[in-house]
């Protein structure tokens, strides 16, 4: 009973902060999906910089960041280009947009725990040339360009086409045929 009490009274984070698609699989999918972005090479130059944004107060968020960093480290190329990953705490939507411009971030990966910030991030990234990716596919409907859902035990690509256009992400038709597309 004391074990049960400890479990119930211990600090808790929401179940919604856990991702459905295994992180290593998300990394592999991102590496492949990025190659279908016509503007990736223009955006990234000779190297794809990936920024992983975390909610510093959220354990699931921090844990995901470490996990995706490690998983992406095992991927040779993203979109055919060499890449690097950095992690940064979320410090506001405008600051995020500014960072993406200044550091020529090609891909910004939102870790779990930032669901409340997504509307602001969406607005701030309008007109910013960056591919935004959500660890939780539910954020795509709110305005993140790309996410990975799990349907019938298989991963599913989810794309917000309208937001993609606003962020100068142009996915090829072959990818969109495989994805669930939201307008």
């Amino acid at each position: 009973m004391s074990v049960v009490a400890c479990v119930l009274l211990a600090p808790r984070k929401s179940l919604g902060d856990e991702v459905a698609v295994p992180v290593a699989l998300q990394a592999e999918l991102l590496a492949k999906v990025a190659s279908y972005d016509r503007n990736l090479a223009t955006r990234a130059g000779d190297r794809v910089h990936v920024l992983i944004v975390v909610n510093a107060k959220n354990d699931a968020s921090n844990s995901f960041a470490k996990h995706i960093t490690s998983a992406l480290g095992g991927v040779d190329k993203i979109g055919g280009l060499p890449h690097d990953e950095t992690t940064a705490p979320f410090g506001g939507a405008k600051a995020l947009a500014e960072t993406c411009r200044e550091r020529r971030i090609a891909i910004v990966y939102l870790a779990p725990g930032l669901a409340d910030e997504v509307p602001g991030i969406r607005s701030a990234l309008d007109g910013v040339n960056v591919l935004s990716v959500a660890a939780d596919a539910a954020e795509v409907a709110k305005g993140i360009v790309l996410g990975f859902d799990l349907v019938s035990g298989k991963p599913k690509i989810v794309v917000h086409l309208g937001q993609a256009k606003r962020q100068e992400v142009s996915f090829k038709a072959e990818l969109l045929k495989l994805a669930k597309v939201l307008e």
């Binding site: 295994p22 279908y36 349907v151 072959e174």
Partner: protein, 751 residues
Amino acid sequence: MSARTKHFLVALLGAASLLAASPARADDADTSTSTSDLEGLLNENVVQAASKTSEVGTTAPATVTTVTAEDLRRYGIRTLAEAIDFLSLGAVTSDSQHVVDIGARGVMIPNDNGDHMLLLVNGHTQNEPLFGRAVFGRGASIPLEMIDHIEVILGPGSVLYGSNAMLGVINVVTKRAKDWSGVHGVAEVEPGKSWRGLVGAGVLFQTPLAKDPADLTVALEYYKHDGPAFFYEYRYGGIDGASGRPYRYSRNGPENGYWGGVANDGYYTRLPSGFLRLALGDFELNVQASSFDHAAPYRSRYTKVFQDFDDPDSHERDRRLGIDLTHRARLSSIARVTSRAYVDGWDWFADVNVSSKAACLGAGDTSANTCTLGGRGRSRWAGLELRTDLDWLQTSELVTTIGVDGRLREIKSKVDFFDFDTGRPLQSSQGLIDRNDTLIGAYLQQTILPTRWLSFNLGARLDKETRFDGVISPRFAAAVRTWQGGTLKGSYAEAFRSPSFAETDYVSTLQLPVAGTLRPERVRSVEGSFEQKLGAQRLLFGVFRSWWQDIVENHILSVAEQREAVRLGQVTLNTFGVGQFRNVSQIDNWGLNGTFEGTAGTDQQLHYGLNVTAAIARRDESGVQRVPLAVAPQLFGNARIAYDIPGDWPTLALATHYIGKRPIDRAYDGGWPSGNYAPPQLETRATISGPLPFVRGLSYRLTATYAIADRGAYVVGAQQVYEGITPDRSPQLLPLDQFRTSIGLQYDLLP
């Protein structure tokens, strides 16, 4: 694998991939990109039950088949058993009309109540403790339209789940509201035979109790079937020893000794059921309820031996209610805790009416015209499982899982005998079971990924209950990514089955108590497999070997044993066929299995797959000749192909499953001079499905199924063994419904 073999394999898959490659689109100004690699990733199966965590099936510590919701719809699947037969690798079912037997990799134990396969629904155990029963046919009571996917995990699985997971684990995962949103209605008919109705809904809604929306899916279903009216050959059963006249096999029938005819009334199912899943914040609630009332018109060795022919009042009913509440919490960046509380109730009713004097003599009174054997049973159990996952490096490369599962159980049963016409009891209750039991299991699993191409999974579980000493079930598995798309896996695992309470505690005039204790059945298994993916194509080949021991069987006393039992006052002089549950036999099993599946076409509109299992399973018993297992298929498999016509046009699908020739259930104790093998079976189903044009939200599904063999592997009728009193030299086997059609309509009112 030699370089030559590897090159051959890659060339073979490359040829298949070329056939499936997407051609360049002329309207795309950019250089087209082959999507085969991406399709391969999107075809990756993410499984939950193999390690109790989400992982890709390729490196899971077992051979796993995932059957998707789309597969179920596309191929006209209507039950869990059909999904296993038509779509999975390595597992197979056999329907006796009374129960659906399930086996895997060449091992099937008829009428075991499915207690060698662990069945889960959203991780909740379905096997009950009185008989160990899990239902895989229609009585599984899981609305097909609510199923998101089914994981069929082959091989011993007790390392995480405890008892019953000897053949494997089947986990049915239901849909979330996002995949079943709106209100849904289904009506399905097999003309002249059955109908099914379902209403359900899936909705996300905001509550003040949690930040995230609540996720609710719910369905109510009713299934009813009557017939078909099979014809059973008239067979002479002999002279009723109690009356001195030929047997009478129906309540108002003549005493002419003949059993058989057209069974118009005694083959039916009535099945109301409901299912609810609610996820709210950190909590998830699953509730499942059903009442499975069913009857079959014949008598068999295993069930209702003395039952009157085609008697609608001889029937069985399982009622169950299961409630499961799960809470998930993250304690820190490395620690997650899952707590699960569950409570289940299961009631069993079985009424068997018999009009033979000999049977009524056994029931206690030959003056009754018809006597009723009324079996009643119930199980109640409640438990709590706590599990901690420690991801030490926060990269899934070093994860420790520790869990404990404690359960309290109450099991009761009895058998009463009544005069059918007056309701008068004929004797005191027999087979009284009244038990309270505690079981506890503790498990530990360690996954290690020292490199990106190598992974290990080690684990063990200790189970302890009041009836036997602790049982340890270990597992060790390794997976090596050999080259792009290639994975080599190997594993060793053990599992056990606690004897059911019906086996350990049931005592009657025809059933002696267990001598001493019944040991748990045990299985040890090694397997190896190689999987190669090339784009959306997947090829798998595996070999396996298992050793089963202490198989529990109802041993029928020999003449000498019967004399000794009489001397000890355990049985009376004029009782025959007295049994006693014992750890009787071993099973030696080995074989191979393979899969080829994939998709093709510019829009992946062509789907295909092939699964084959070839196995040898031999039963060993001291002093008895080594023989193949009765009823167990040694060669079986399935194949499927489907094409999604673009636009609002239908999907055309063809699925077939094959079972090779196999010994009948009385092949070794029936003494029949001939006819001891059931014919091979090839069953093929054609399905057309799609949206109805001009009616938004309405879709249809038409199926037609044809089976080549008209006989199954179960002996039916009064002549269970060869007695030489009639010219019949081969047994009468279960008739099968060779041709079936169904028409289904589904209406989805989307939000």
